[in-house]
Amino acid sequence: MILELKDVHTYYGTSHVLFGVSLDVDRGEVVCLMGRNGAGKSTTFRSVMGLSLPRAGTVLFHGKDVTRLKVHAKARMGIGYVPEDRQIFPELTVRENLEIGRSSGIRRADGWSVDRIYGLFPVLEKYDRKPGGQLSGGEQQMLTIGRTLMGNPELVLLDEPTEGLAPVVVIALKEMILRLKEMGTTILLSEQNVKFAAKVSDRVFIIDNGAIRYRNDIEGFRNDEAVQKRYLAV
């Protein structure tokens, strides 16, 4: 198991957001965390990263307790985080945005480079020396993903990557996720779109009101329309 959350409780100030979230991701899998807006998907990701520290429970990475490690230490262990609201550095050039992804310090012979990211997302190359703030929403999403990949993470936390994107960009994202999977990258994805999730994931967890309500493999989930109706806006 590459990632395991055990009974994670997270608060924002005094408001209790996650009520004992437990989930697990195996090496090489694409696992999808589904749920409505405000269900706790982003908070789960932030808890893994340490951006919102869980008040109780543990986060294990390769079986090691990393709950209270500093954020940059987790990035340097191989956890890559792509936040839902993109969060590119608008004043930095596209190339600088990508290069800062190398701060994880993880180098691999077959690792990512700026040129390889441009190969994956050809549209980014023409903006090489332009500030990231000039990119469109879809392009920024590609840049955010590329930036995280530059750190050669073993596990990528991909928070609602398709949100607000044009259908053609969503198709490109789907292909990209499948390609990453082929390359052996493990992905924990959060998503509201059932079709998209069904196309890329191996397993599904559903979170609602800050707790995991359902877990299944992708075939089981695809055929379980009652669950889809109950927890997701379909």
């Binding site: 990263m49 500093k70 990035a75 930095l92 290069e99």
Partner: protein, 316 residues
């Protein structure tokens, strides 16, 4: 700079008497050079202030106190221990930078991200003005100290009719070199790129593996070392006295308000404006000289409150 205006006024009067009260070109050049010199010492402090604000997101009221420490450290190693002048300047800058790192690590770090952080920042950094002022008084006493210029730079340099103090020219060169060096470091190096990223989004930078706490300490150390450098190189031209920390922070505040807080080139432009306005104010209306820098600041606040070098609607 406002604080030295009185000494400057006497100097200017003397110059004018000698010149028979005619404002010839050599006098103008001399005053211009003097303005540039104080602009550079101001810039060294203000650039650090603006760097800390831009990256660490702290307004360091105590920044002038690192100028003070730099001046006293330089006095200690140069005048008391007899170390060579430039080695002394270097040690004084490093000493001030080390003091800055300690302040960041043991105190400021504890209030980052707290709700109501701004209030804590003001209290904490303001208290450091008082603490460092008293520490300086305890160690070195309250009387004025001075350092002599290095001998090779003690005299004037004459170019035709115009004579310029050699030491001032070196101070100006140091200030410009720091400006260019900092610009290059911020724009062209990995460290600088990390600074810009942290300044725009601290959480995201750390999520990508940037060691944010360490970088913030280094920025604080670098900025306070620049403050110390300013105090050390200003020591031979101004007297070293406790209380200089407050005078300098007021001057720097005016500078960053004019240039735009958090804007590196703004600190340079602001320092040049204030340095020259004060220098020529002394020349023409010595009794009003102090008021000029405040008047410029007020005009900027009325007509361009975001600072001369800031884009409209851009808070940083």
């Amino acid at each position: 700079m406002a604080p030295s205006a009185r000494q400057g006024a006497e100097g200017a009067r003397a110059i004018r008497e000698r010149a028979g009260n005619t404002l010839d070109s050599s006098l103008i050049v001399a005053q211009f050079i003097s303005g540039l010199t104080s602009a550079m010492t101001l810039f060294l402090v203000a650039s650090g202030l603006t760097l800390i604000f831009g990256v660490v997101n702290v307004f360091n009221f105590a920044h002038g106190s690192f100028y003070l420490l730099g001046a006293y450290f330089a006095y200690q190693v140069v005048a008391v221990s007899g170390v060579g002048f430039w080695a002394g300047v270097l040690l004084a800058s490093l000493g001030a930078g080390a003091a800055g790192v300690l302040m960041e690590y043991f105190f400021l770090r504890r209030i980052y991200g707290r709700s109501g952080e701004a209030g804590f920042q003001i209290l904490l950094t303001y208290s450091f003005i008082l603490i460092l002022d008293d520490v300086v008084k305890m160690i070195w006493g309250t009387d004025y100290k001075s350092i002599s210029k290095p001998e090779a730079l003690a005299g004037p340099l004459s170019v035709g009719e115009v004579t310029m103090p050699r030491y001032d020219l070196v101070v100006i060169a140091i200030g410009l070199a720091v400006a260019v060096g900092m610009w290059a470091a911020i724009r062209k190096t990995r460290f600088g790129r990390n600074l810009r990223a942290i300044s725009s989004n601290r959480e995201m930078a750390s999520s990508l593996g940037v060691n944010v706490p360490l970088t913030l300490s280094l920025v604080f150390g670098l900025a306070t070392a620049l403050g110390g450098l300013s105090g050390a190189i200003a020591a031979p031209v101004r007297t070293v006295t406790p209380g200089a920390g407050i005078e300098v922070i007021i001057g720097s505040l005016i500078v960053v308000v004019i240039g735009g807080l958090g804007n590196f080139w703004g600190a340079l432009v602001g320092a040049l404006v204030i340095g020259e306005v004060t220098a020529f104010g002394i020349l023409f209306l010595p009794q009003w000289a102090i008021l000029f820098s405040y008047a410029v600041m007020a005009l900027v606040l009325v007509f361009r409150p975001e600072g001369l070098l800031m884009k409209k609607g851009n808070a940083r």
